[in-house]
Point group: C2
Chain length 398, copies 2
C-alpha cells in the first residue's frame, strides 16, 4: 500500500470533479453530470488514472450515505407521507413497466434466454436515487411537490431494486423464488423505515447533552457520522439498502420532523439543527462528489464494441425501453403534462444500481460480454441524458 | 468488499475514540491517549473488532495529514525559525543519543548482531510527531516557546527518521551506505520546505478568486484538501515524509505567514483564513482521531510473550535507553530545568514511526519475533507514558 499513490488518486478525483462540476454549473446544467463525466474521463474509459478499488468504493459509499443524509435533513416527512399514494403509483409503474417490457422485449423480440431476459428486466427497474436527488438539488427543485413525489418514488424504487436483485439472484442459483422470505424482508424494511426516525429523534436530548458537556473537539461531526453509519448498518441488516438508513437519520434530525411528545425535543432541536448543518456541510460537500466520480469511473466504455451491429441492435432497442418505461411512470400524477413528464424523466437515470446489476449478472455468468456491454451503455446513457433533459423540462416548473 | 462491515469498523473507531478521549479529558489527561487506548482495546490486542487494513491505514494517513495541516495553520513560522538553533540542537541530540546508545547497548551489552543493533538504534530515533503535537494541543500548550522548540525539533527528527530508515534499509539490502544520495535527498527536502510554503502562499489570490466565482458547493474544503494532498505527494517525491507537505500547506495558509510582497495577499488572507478554519475544523476533527485509533490498533500486545525472561531483560534495558536518550535532548535549551525536561519528555513518544520501523525490520527478516515484540513494547510504553508524564511536568509551565 503506497499512501502517496492513493493521495494522487484522491487528488485527481477531487480536482476533476470540481473542475467539471463548475463547468456544468456555468452551462446551467446539473453539476452532478460534470462529476460523472470527470469520472468517465479519469477512469478506465479514457485516462485510466483511477481504477475504482475497494478503498475508493468505500469512500464513495460514505459519499452517497452523506448525500442521502443531507436530502433527509431537507425532507419534510409529513409532506412526503401526504404525497405517498402518488409516489407509490409512480414507483409501482416505474417498477412494473421496465421489468415487464424489458423481459418481454428481451425474450420475445431479441430472442434472449429467459434468465438473461429476467436479469435485464431487473436491471432496468432500479432508478439511481443518488443521481436523481442530486439533479433535483442541483436544479434547486428539491423542495417542490414534483420533487417530493420523485423522492418518495425513488425510495420505494430503491427498495424494490434490492429485493428484485435478491430474488433474481436466488432464482438464478436455486431455481426457486422465495416469496415468503421476500415478504418478510419487505416487512422488516417498512418497520425499520417507520421506527428508525422516531427512535433517532428520541436521541436528540442525549446528543444535546453530550454536546454541551464535551471536553474534546469534533463532538457534533463524530456523533452525526456515527449515527449515519449506525442506521446504515441496521438498514443493511434488515435487508434494505444502506442509504435508506442515512436518509432516515437525516429525516429524524430535520427541523420539520414532529413527534407526539414533540415540544420539549423541538426546544433542543432548533439550536442543534443549526450546529449540525454548520458542521456537516463541509464534510458532505467534500465526500459527495467522490461518489459520482466513482460512478463515472465504474462505467468502462472500453468494454463496448461500438463496431458491432448486434450491439447496436440490442442496445438501441433496450435503451428505448429503458427510457420510455420510466417516463410513463409519471402518468398517474395530478397536474400538468410537464409535471408528469418531469417526474417520469427524473426516474430515468439508472446509475450505480444498474452497474451493480451488470456486475452481478456478469460475475454469475448470466450476462455474456455483449449483454454486459449493452447494460453498461444503457446505464451510461440514461445517467448522462436524463439530467440534461430534466433541466430543460423543469425550466420554469412550479 | 462489504460496505456494511467497513461501516461497522468505522463506527467502532469513531465511537470508541470519542468515549475514551472524553474520559481522558475529564481526567485532565491528553485526550490523544484515550484515542490510542481505544485503538488498543478495539484492535487485535483485546477485542479484535478492527484489524487495520489498507483502507483504514489510508484513512488514518488522511487524519495525520490533516492534523499536521492544522498545526501548520497555528504555526508562526517566524517564531519557529527564530528558535531554529535551539530546535536543531534538541533534534540532533535526540537523534544521536538514541541512535548511538541504542546501537551500542544492543550490540555490546545485549550482544545482538550488528545489523539488528543498527535497526534498533534507528527505531529509537524517530519521535512520533503526531503524538507529540497532539499532546501539546490537548494540553493547550501549543503556542508556547517550549512547544515551538519541540515542533521544530520534531520536524527535523521526522526527516531524520525517514532518511535513516532509507539508509539502513539500503545498507541491509546492498551492504552499502549511499552518503551522496542521502545528501541529495536532504538537499531536496530543505529546498522543498523553504519553497513550498512561499509558492502556496502565492496561490492565495487564485483560491480567493475561485471561491468568489464558485457555482457549486464545497469549494473551500475541496481546494484545501486538494492542496494538502498535492503538497503531501510532492513532499513524498522529494524524499520527505508526506506529513511535512501538509504541514507546509498549513504554514502557508496561516494568518501569520509574511512575504516580501505581503500586503496585497494579506488582504485576501484574513477573510479566507476564517473561511478555511470554519470549513476545515469539522473535517479535521472527524479524521484526526482515526489516525490515533489506528496507531493503537497497530500495537498488538499479543505478539509479546510476557512470560519470557529474555523479553523482559531486553525490553527493560531498551525502554530505559529509549526514554533517557530522548529526555536528555532538552539539555541545550535556555531556561528552567522544568523547561528542559518538558522538551525532552515531549520527544519521547515513538508512535507510528517506531511501528513502521518494527514492521520493516520484521518483514526484511532483521528482527526476529522477540526483537519485534520488544520494539512494539517500547513504542507502546513511550507512546502511552510520555503524554501522562508531560501533563504533570508541564502543569503550570509558562
Amino acid at each position: 500500500m503506497d499512501a502517496s499513490a492513493f493521495f494522487f488518486k484522491l487528488l485527481a478525483i477531487l480536482v476533476s470533479a470540481k473542475v467539471f462540476a463548475e463547468i456544468f454549473a456555468h452551462l446551467r446544467l446539473p453539476s452532478v453530470l460534470g462529476e460523472v463525466i470527470a469520472g468517465i474521463i479519469i477512469g478506465p474509459s479514457i485516462l485510466g488514472i483511477i481504477i475504482p478499488d475497494d478503498t475508493l468504493y468505500l469512500l464513495a459509499e460514505i459519499g452517497i450515505l452523506l448525500l442521502l443524509f443531507e436530502v433527509g435533513l431537507d425532507t419534510d416527512i409529513g409532506q412526503l407521507v401526504k404525497l405517498g399514494i402518488q409516489s407509490s403509483l409512480v414507483a409501482v409503474t416505474g417498477i412494473l413497466a421496465p421489468a415487464l417490457l424489458g423481459f418481454w422485449i428481451s425474450n420475445h423480440v431479441l430472442n434472449l434466454p429467459v434468465l438473461v431476459s429476467l436479469f435485464i428486466g431487473g436491471t432496468l427497474v432500479a432508478t439511481s436515487i443518488g443521481i436523481t436527488v442530486r439533479v433535483l438539488v442541483d436544479l434547486r427543485q428539491h423542495q417542490t411537490t414534483t420533487s417530493r413525489i420523485v423522492l418518495g418514488a425513488a425510495v420505494i424504487d430503491d427498495i424494490a431494486g434490492v429485493v428484485i436483485l435478491a430474488l433474481l439472484y436466488d432464482f438464478a442459483v436455486t431455481g426457486e423464488v422465495g416469496i415468503m422470505n421476500t415478504a418478510q424482508v419487505l416487512g422488516f424494511i417498512v418497520v425499520f423505515l417507520v421506527i428508525a426516525p422516531v427512535l433517532t429523534k428520541l436521541l436528540v436530548p442525549l446528543i444535546h447533552k453530550l454536546y454541551s458537556g464535551r471536553r474534546t473537539k469534533g463532538m457534533i461531526p463524530t456523533i452525526i457520522v456515527s449515527l449515519i453509519l449506525l442506521l446504515a448498518i441496521v438498514s443493511h441488516k434488515v435487508g434494505a439498502p444502506e442509504i435508506l438508513g442515512s436518509f432516515a437519520a437525516g429525516v429524524a434530525l430535520a427541523r420539520r420532523f414532529f413527534l407526539p411528545l414533540g415540544s420539549t425535543i423541538e426546544h433542543y432541536s432548533h439550536d442543534l439543527a443549526e450546529k449540525i448543518e454548520e458542521n456537516m456541510k463541509p464534510i458532505i460537500n467534500l465526500f459527495v462528489p467522490v461518489f459520482f466520480v466513482v460512478v463515472g469511473a465504474s462505467i468502462n466504455f472500453k468494454v463496448i464494441d461500438f463496431g458491432s451491429v448486434t450491439f447496436w441492435q440490442i442496445a438501441g432497442v433496450l435503451t428505448v425501453v429503458a427510457i420510455i418505461s420510466k417516463m410513463v411512470s409519471g402518468i398517474w400524477v395530478k397536474g400538468s403534462f410537464r409535471k408528469k413528464l418531469s417526474i417520469g424523466t427524473a426516474m430515468v437515470p439508472r446509475g450505480e444500481v444498474g452497474l451493480i446489476f451488470a456486475e452481478i449478472g456478469k460475475k454469475s455468468g448470466i450476462f455474456d460480454d455483449l449483454i454486459y456491454a449493452v447494460v453498461v451503455f444503457i446505464v451510461a446513457l440514461t445517467t448522462l441524458f436524463a439530467p440534461v433533459l430534466l433541466r430543460f423540462i423543469m425550466k420554469g416548473e412550479e
